[in-house]
Symmetry: C2
Subunit: 238 residues, 2 copies
DNA sequence: AAAAAAATATGATATTTGTCACCTAAGTAG
DNA sequence: CTACTTAGGTGACAAATATCATATTTTTTT
């Protein structure tokens, strides 16, 4: 855990990469994409490895081709809070690049990941010269800010039980389910507790309580939502 | 509570207004300031009045000349969470303008306020044509996002007691104290509980507990920090 | 000034959540 | 395979926080 990535991979062409359609990179034209192809590097990241850590100065952004990572922040009391998940199609690192500050969160893979790294100079050039790209990036950041405000309210006003129910529903919505309906994201109990902001033991109890009440089915680490309606009611506070 | 503002005031010239130095507006040149002077409107806002409410579409930004307002969000369970305070020199509404969405928070005066309203068209024109202004606005938004991430962690990982101690210290730092060392912001117990995210009764108990232990002195609504070192220790979790 | 309304305060009690100790199952390195 | 390590799980209990009822004080309205 915590090792920085090094592994380099075969490079594909950005022009042909579908993943860019999911992010602000969709605003780039052919010339810009070709320029990007030439300066980007591709990496594979193993589960548990960090793309960057709180306090790092990164000099570029990551474009996620596959896999999922968690953005975490260490609280003064030593616990790790998961603030957000980043997945295929997302960009990572824009905020720090634009405001020219150290990153305030660590990014750790919870999956095997494939990512491309686009150097700062190139990104900032697009940012300054391509007003459509500029607007898309800013919209993303504004959206993140809105989500963060929502999260503050959620944390401050909802019980752990409500937050857990909400988190499970979000996992389903954001990452989907496999053929057997199990959530695709595979998180340890500790990681889930770091999303919800509670003690691991409390979380485990609540999970088995939800199972007892027929809202979930678990199979080892795997979790399946068995009664969405009821889980939604719990998330709303009933 | 909740009435929209109407009162118009005498207009000053933006060129001569010191307050603009505190925000992104400092990036505007003389011509731009004169143009702004001609299209802005000045308003006075009474305590308890809303500048806008969650869900509104605002078509401009506010520049705060004096006074303080709270940004609040109604949680599904009917409680009001205070997410942030806005004070003299701050701009308000940029995010919604730029991302062209409804505002996600309500802004309610906790003080008598004087504000100027600058219409959307003008702001967006500066935003598009003045790259320094553009950069300043974006930096502000990025900074807000960073603060919001911090707040999520704080809410999720700290106890109510820690959060209260932290909030009081922030009140002192952000708004200062009067000649007798009392905090300048005057919030009701309910408002403080809406900052910290707890029940009003619990908050009152904690305040008097802090007083009993010599960390605070209270006089009606007024609060004075009597032992900062100790309060800081509590905020850190000791 | 009196009455009404709102804010502050306190007690009793229930509920939620955390902590510690410990145990079992599962995965991993030698 | 076996020892070791880590994650998952449970019980007992303590601490934190919410809730409800009810004073008391302050503010506002009449």
């Amino acid at each position: 855990m915590g090792r920085q990535i090094k592994r380099l991979c075969v490079m594909g062409k950005c022009e042909q990469c579908i993943v860019r359609q999911f992010s602000a990179l969709r605003a780039l034209d052919k010339d810009e994409l070709m320029r990007m192809s030439n300066c980007k590097t591709s990496h594979s990241v193993k589960k548990g490895e960090a793309l960057f850590e709180e306090g790092d100065h990164i000099n570029g952004v990551f474009c996620i081709k596959s896999g999922i990572c968690k953005l975490t922040k260490l609280s003064p009391n030593g616990k790790n809070q998961i603030v957000k998940f980043i997945k295929r199609g997302d960009l990572l690192g824009q905020r720090s690049l634009i405001s020219d500050e150290a990153v305030n969160l660590s990014a750790v893979a919870i999956d095997e990941m494939e990512v491309c790294f686009i150097p700062k100079e190139e990104v900032m050039r697009f940012f300054k010269e391509n007003s459509k790209f500029n607007a898309e990036i800013i919209k993303d950041i504004c959206h993140d800010l809105k989500l963060a405000d929502d999260a503050i309210v959620e944390m401050a006003q909802k019980s752990v039980k409500q937050r857990l129910a909400g988190a499970l529903l979000e996992f389903e919505e954001e990452f989907g389910v496999d053929k057997e309906q199990y959530l695709k994201v595979s998180l340890s109990r500790e990681e889930i507790s770091n999303v919800v902001g509670t003690a691991t033991e409390s979380l485990i109890r609540m999970l088995s309580d939800f199972s007892k009440k027929g809202m979930l089915e678990t199979n080892g680490k795997k979790i399946k939502i068995a009664n969405r309606t009821e889980l939604e009611r719990v998330a709303e506070g009933f």
